[in-house]
């Protein structure tokens, strides 16, 4: 019922590393959007989201990722999403977003 966001700038890779824990839904999404835009204001760079502990996402959460990617694409930065759970993966697949974001799966 909450979404915890951990962020860290990886100097070596030159990207934001974001860990999401909890649920990215209609209730938590505003906080997520605000935080991400703050980070990009601070430093425009690639973003790598680790979804290991992201339990749930809805269309509003997906919309936020699409919006984020839009802003980044204008600056030729990429949005990478890794280690997502099967239920989150399924939503990316059915909405075709798996072809728009860069998805990395470790195993």
């Amino acid at each position: 019922m909450i979404l915890n966001i951990k962020d860290q700038f990886d100097e070596e890779k030159g990207r934001w590393l974001i860990e999401l824990e909890g649920e990215a839904d209609v209730y938590t999404v505003n906080n997520f959007k605000e935080r991400m835009h703050q980070l990009l204001d601070e430093k425009m760079a690639d973003v790598e989201i680790d979804g290991t502990s992201l339990q749930y996402i809805d269309s509003i959460g997906l919309g936020a990722l699409i919006g984020l990617r839009g802003r980044m694409a204008d600056q030729e930065k990429v949005l990478i999403i890794k280690n997502i759970q099967p239920n989150v993966r399924k939503l990316l697949n059915i909405t075709g977003l798996d072809k728009i974001f860069i998805i990395e799966q470790e195993d």
């Binding site: 839904d25 209609v26 269309s59």
Partner: protein, 151 residues
């Protein structure tokens, strides 16, 4: 009558075993309660984990629509869970402005936009979906079902 937009045809003759209804405030912070109640009902019925995930997403999308496009701030909306022999039917009813389903376009998946994915996700995850517009532009009723023991 403004709308009665059947996406999939559904048989009329079904034996309803039990009805559970949940009435929620028009506020995003309670959508997770709908998901929780649903997952209790669905797991009691014997749905598997993947189906329960699908059901949670579909119901949450319909709740989000009821809140976003539906009623005024201080009104509630309802969710009815109909436990049938071999399926769960869920109706989400709001008292909002309603809409004409036929005029809603399918999203263009090659050109992602921030909105417009909700109904598409619902249709993909559920076995049957129907949308009814109450008369006089007053409210929407979305009816969706998922069958037990497939997949």
């Amino acid at each position: 009558m403004k709308g009665n937009n059947t996406i999939y045809k559904e048989e009329n003759n079904v034996e309803v075993r039990d009805i559970i209804s949940l009435n929620l405030p028009n506020a995003p912070e309670y959508v997770s309660i709908a998901r929780l109640t649903l997952s209790g009902i669905a797991s009691r019925m014997g749905f598997n984990i993947e189906d329960i995930e699908d059901l949670k997403v579909a119901v949450a999308e319909a709740c989000t629509n009821a809140i976003k496009h539906g009623c005024g701030k201080d009104r509630n909306y309802s969710i009815e869970f109909l436990v049938l022999k071999d399926k769960l039917r869920i109706e989400i009813i709001d008292g909002g402005k309603g809409f004409d389903y036929k005029k809603v376009k399918e999203p263009d998946l090659t050109k992602p936009r921030e909105g417009g994915l909700g109904l598409y996700i619902i249709k993909t995850l559920m076995d049957e979906v129907q949308i009814f517009n109450n008369q006089k532009n007053c409210g929407t009723r979305i009816i969706m079902s998922k069958n037990l023991g497939e997949s």
